[in-house]
Assembly symmetry: C2
């Protein structure tokens, strides 16, 4: 065995510091990187002979193969040279000639941390949302549809069919505005089911709601501009506004939905309003017709835009269908955002924006020369799913399922938690909000429920401003009626035992 000189030992000692068995980076890559960094920094001089791979392996406490992998890579890149009988040395000249970094001392001063944008600081300040009770959804985690009732076998066949037709076009990804057949199907759907005014040209496919929000903010709002947000409201909307560097203006929500007059008082020149007029999240109220017309008139007068987040209105359980706000808009002020996360399943990252005719060219130009907006395969499969009527059929079926679940939840909440919780009516979608008595903290109740294995979201999590009455948000889409009843029983025991 070749002896290791003192100089080499020192070089090695500084290398060893970097080998870390706790990270998942392979050991050979760690050795490769550490040695390369030391050579570039001048800590290991050109021409230095390295110990044998066997010695290195022993010093580092790793297998010899690990060392050989690292040395081979460095040799291939020109940092090390091997000569017969004289072993491996650091290359006399570094791979790129004419570049000799100044040697650095043994201890490297730590770098200053990266600077963050104001948007990043605001987003980090939001925290990470409600804690979850493990990965499996418990009653009543909001946001999950009845995945066990999704026609997965049929969907799989359509995916396989789209895949087997995998033309060059499918692999290429297609149009930056979205799959033409899907845009057509979406346009027909929003006209028929939501009373929207829409041609396929107005439909821009996105990889989900969040991307749609970001795109709208980018194109119609400048940094620092005020944007009305419902308070309480959907957290993703707030994230998108903060991420765009715009100013979030909280506007209260009452029984008639967003308080338009309050919005006008707080930010009369807002550039954008984000709201869910058909089924406010999380309170579940509907924007009254008076407020709808007032909002549209204000937007037209101020040249403001309205982002209508119509996330689950397909699931109207009862009563006459509510037309989308977009369908009442004569002035081209409404950008209508829809998603397939609830109507299909959340793992399908597909959504869309319907833009007013005057903005079709702008949205098109902003996407020009970019790749397709979402998975080509899933866009094609969804176009077929809609074309063949499976989508409309699935919606019809789920309306009945969610009505049954909503009734089970409302009935049990009234009979078991009547003195404590005051649930709002629920005629749409898959979640509802129940108010707590004034003065009772929903965070405390949430924690108590969690200890009983029940996952509910505190209303205060959705508030942009402090104060206001506490409440609990229940998701019931993924929970069967029997489990709904058992869950409410557990919750009631937890509430009453306190």
């Amino acid at each position: 065995m070749r002896t290791v000189g003192a100089d080499q030992k020192r070089a090695l000692a500084s290398l060893l510091l970097r080998v870390d068995r706790k990270t998942s980076a392979p050991l050979h890559a760690q050795i490769d990187q550490a040695l390369r960094a030391r050579i570039l920094a001048g800590a290991v001089k050109p021409g230095t002979r390295l110990p044998s791979s066997r010695t290195l392996a022993a010093e580092l406490g790793v297998a010899r193969t690990t060392v050989l992998l690292a040395l081979d890579a460095l040799q291939a890149e020109g940092y090390l040279v091997a000569a017969p009988r004289s072993g491996v040395r650091v290359a006399p000249e570094l791979p790129e000639q004419g570049f000799a970094p100044a040697p650095v001392g043994t201890a490297r001063a730590p770098s200053a941390p990266p600077r963050l944008s104001r948007a990043a600081r605001a987003l980090v300040g939001l925290g990470t949302g409600a804690p979850r009770l493990g990965a499996a959804p418990r009653p009543f985690r909001p946001g999950l549809p009845a995945l066990d009732l999704f026609p997965i076998a049929l969907w799989s066949r359509l995916v396989a069919r789209a895949q087997s037709r995998a033309s060059a076009r499918l692999l290429e990804g297609g149009d930056p505005t979205g799959h033409p057949g899907l845009r057509q199907a979406i346009s027909e759907h929003v006209v028929a089911a939501r009373g929207a005014r829409c041609t396929p040209e107005q439909v821009f496919v996105t990889a989900g709601t969040q991307q749609a929000f970001e795109e709208v903010l980018r194109l119609v709002v400048d940094p620092g501009d005020p944007v009305w947000l419902e308070d309480p409201g959907y957290l993703g909307a707030r994230r998108a506004v903060l991420g765009a560097g715009a100013r979030a203006v909280p506007v209260p929500v009452d029984d008639e939905g967003l308080d338009v007059e309050a919005g006008v008082r707080r930010a009369p020149r807002a550039r954008l309003v984000i709201l869910a007029p058909s089924h406010q999240y999380p309170l579940g109220v509907t924007l009254s017709l008076g407020r709808r017309m007032a909002l549209l008139r204000w937007a037209e007068a101020e040249r403001a835009m309205i982002l209508e987040d119509d996330y689950d209105s397909e699931f109207r359980h009862r009563g006459r269908p509510l037309t989308a706000l977009q369908g009442l808009d004569d002035a081209g002020r409404v950008l209508y955002v829809g998603t397939f996360s609830k109507t299909m399943f959340p793992g399908l990252r597909l959504g869309y924006v319907v833009v007013p005719p005057a903005l079709v060219d702008v949205f098109g130009a902003a996407r020009a020369s970019l790749p397709a907006p979402a998975s080509a395969l899933e866009q094609a499969a969804l176009a077929t799913f809609m074309d063949e009527g499976h989508f409309a059929r699935h919606l019809r079926r789920m309306r009945g399922v969610y009505r049954e679940r909503a009734e089970a939840l409302l009935d049990t909440l009234r009979s078991r938690c009547g003195g404590v919780l005051e649930p709002s009516p629920c005629d749409t979608g898959m979640q509802l909000c129940a108010m707590l008595p004034r003065g009772v903290s929903d965070l405390v109740v949430r924690d108590r429920a969690a200890r009983a294995g029940i996952e509910v979201a505190p209303l205060s999590d959705y508030r942009l401003t402090r104060g206001g009455r506490g409440g609990l948000v229940f998701g019931f889409g993924a929970i069967r009626p029997a489990a709904i009843r058992t869950g409410v029983e557990s919750l009631a025991r937890a509430l009453h035992s306190a």
Copy 2:
């Protein structure tokens, strides 16, 4: 047949204006919307009796079913009421009581057009990129990999397998940072193939490169901040910078890559640099080691960040592998962006950012409570594709294919266009740039080539500033050697006949 009063005829006349057979909106939806709008505007008064559906159909020149569909919808929503023997009337009270919009005149003043953000105006100003010769790619449209050599049958099996395992978890979409197995596989890939320093926690899956750019800009750059861009450079980077409201600072590129000293002179306090150090787009040069170290030192001193766009470096045809800039970064300044558009296929919208350890929490917090970043199905299938070694095998095979195509293109360009085109060396990827003689407009040459059925991109399309020598960018990834030779022959004839 019921007679139609003069009053009703007037109401109808104003409705008829809106029925438009050229749009794809169904006629019944148009009638529904037009009538609803007129009722809300007070143009058709509460209590007005409508003509029979038969009369309406005749007046409008549509089928009676079409009219019935529209009337049924309005009746369901409470805008119309039907009584036995007295026909259909506008509801005496509108669906929402207490709201009576002021009647408007017959001619509605056109609304002011929507306001656009500065970012939108800048993006629209970019134009829509080079015209394309139809949908099918011709030689030599840049950016397309050899899709006919992609192992589509194998991939389809893995997609089907992931789909058949479609657990609740897959349908739910999973972690907002990405599929855990895919993050692990990406981390192993960038360490082994690109010499990056990376643990799975540092990997954030995205729906492609553009989303990765947008996310990085959102979190490390404030609106108005200067960002260095390579000039000429990748157009998508410029779109992302403009979309974020940041200031694009063009930095020239020479034989050693981005001119770091010029960048420091132009914007010494830039917050971000976006570049492709391993294979500059579209010139194809490599950032020299000296420039790499100078860039990293400057970034560390100025607390600037570097976005390394490593879009095709897996396809290094020959020579020793080049380590990613990220692998040399001791100070945590590099955000490494990779994509599967080239290594797999563009229709798969999957990419990733590897963030420095100090930014893992920030990127995580910014995504907290959001849905999964991309298709759950394709993430799962790709994780398996990588785990089982198919990805590495496909890369190895494609390296040989692209080497052969690069050689065919270079050989033919030299022998057939030697006097006119001066191709740069090509040891990586699937496109190359050939310079034109000084004074020759690449736009003119592009047009002449297009008339000969050849699609090349003019270098000036990629420039951020006017001037500079003209050149042509050739994509050869999707073109077989025989077609490459034929294509260059056609191009040569077009060039020489002028």
